[in-house]
Symmetry: C2
Subunit: 299 residues, 2 copies
């Protein structure tokens, strides 16, 4: 299978109070993901809190991950930054450190034009020299890609995939059909937004960029495999088991909920980077309840 | 006059290709502003590109500015950051370096809740110990303040002012009336968005946080003084003289246009931080044309 295909698991990045990586805890997260057998790791994605870390800590995190994974599972690393200079530096470093692929989100402060985003991707993809996935996540980057821009970017060297947000109208098949008609053969289209994973996979999405697989890879794999083997009924059943968790993801944002899941699963407590707040105790209990039915899938 | 009152001028931060401050050019910008007689300097605001600079470069810029201004004009400094830790560090540093006030924008990646923004401001205002202005700029931070949240924040120690974006319905007087009723006596309400400056000042706004005053303080002062002395006709006339420039600010964003103005005024060429692109030559000519009538105001 090629990169940017199947189930990609997005781990949290465990950081202590002084902003330093906790490498042992990262290793434990990665071990769970690797031994479950996912198709790739999405290190330092939005779930990995890349936007809140210094360049130095991001580079340290990547090196710890490469050492820990050691070629067992392909490693995709998020290199988004507010400036092209920093994103280029991160891309070059990722290549040097031994990452397999890059994930680039157009973070913004001043709202960006299409031409600015195009040039940004062109420069960073050239600097990295690794397969690069367009990280289309308007909820965090505040930039909305047109299909035309994705088609332009898909022709650039190294730009081989896009990670799409869930379509507002729920028409995955229509969106993918339009995108496939506009992009080169072999350009890979996948989706993020865990509550739409089942539908996007059933509609033919090539990759599920999954938040929950960062901590619970087994049930996410079970869902992915049910679709792959054509068992839509089983996929529906697993997705229903996830439903209470998806509701919490939508209510609080999956980033906040993931810290509560880590705590519930017995990992050392660590909290989101301020200003992001941890869930209140009553809401953490709701997370615990939502997790219980999913434990049937864990080994 | 108290801080956060009158005309506040927002200079660009001149940075070279390797991301380092050009201190002599900053000094020239500041000298123009100070000798024109504006009421304060808004260093490292959105126009100062704070979001694109490292913490080290921001601290270096502040020190160069303090040295250059040396108590002649009050210095307000932008300390916005994606994490509370970094904003606190910048606030402490600003106090130590000798700034007079702080400007705090709730930069965001994960969309923030009201409670998160409240706690963020509470922590950073306490860390800084200087008068702090709430930087309400949804176009860049992607966070929209409710009037209720501003009212809560206005009760915090050190939080003494708000910099509002132009109201969508143009009802400055109504918005200020509602805000004044909800905030403590002496809490200062001002506006940014240069094309609404005349209307906001005429409606009783206490401060114009001005982009253009960063490079052309004289005409901005002329407009501010016309309103202050009750000469609405003269204010209208000056605002009309600005109109072609306001149109370009709205078309391209004032940040991009300011780099073209600096070049037109004969300052050494320096370009916006990538991914932001400089204006095309044809658009730079439009800027030159828009500036010409404003030269009647410069000394």
């Amino acid at each position: 299978m090629t990169l940017f295909t199947g189930l990609s698991a997005f781990p949290l990045t465990p950081i202590d109070d002084s902003g330093k990586l906790k490498p042992e805890l990262l290793q434990r997260f990665l071990e769970r993901i690797v031994s479950a057998g996912v198709d790739s790791i999405g290190l330092l994605g939005s779930t990995g809190g890349y936007a809140y870390l210094t360049v130095e800590e991001r580079e340290r995190t990547l090196r710890a991950a490469v050492e820990s994974v050691a070629g067992r599972t392909p490693l995709i690393v998020g290199i988004g930054a507010l400036t092209t200079d920093v994103a280029e530096e991160l891309a070059r470093d990722a290549q040097k450190a031994g990452a397999d692929g890059l994930l680039l989100a157009p973070m913004s402060y001043q709202p960006l034009t299409e031409e600015e985003v195009f040039r940004h991707f062109e420069s960073v993809a050239a600097a990295g020299g690794l397969p690069l996935c367009i990280y289309n996540n308007p909820g965090t980057t505040k930039f909305t890609f047109s299909l035309n821009l994705i088609a332009r970017l898909a022709k650039l060297p190294n730009v081989t995939a896009v990670k799409m947000p869930l379509p507002a109208d729920g028409d995955y098949a229509g969106e993918m059909q339009r995108l496939r008609a506009m992009t080169p053969e072999g350009f890979v289209i996948g989706y993020s937004g865990d509550w739409g994973a089942k539908d996007s996979l059933l509609a033919g999405g090539t990759c599920w960029y999954s938040v929950i697989a960062g901590l619970l890879p087994e049930p996410a794999l079970a869902l992915t495999r049910a679709v792959r083997t054509g068992n839509a009924t089983e996929a529906e059943r697993i997705d229903m088991t996830f439903a209470p968790l998806w509701a919490l993801f939508r209510e609080f944002g999956s980033f906040r909920v993931m810290f509560a899941i880590a705590e519930t699963l017995g990992f050392a407590t660590f909290t989101p980077p301020r200003p992001i707040l941890a869930l209140q105790p009553a809401d953490r209990e709701r997370v615990e309840t939502a997790l219980r039915p999913l434990m049937q899938f864990t080994g």
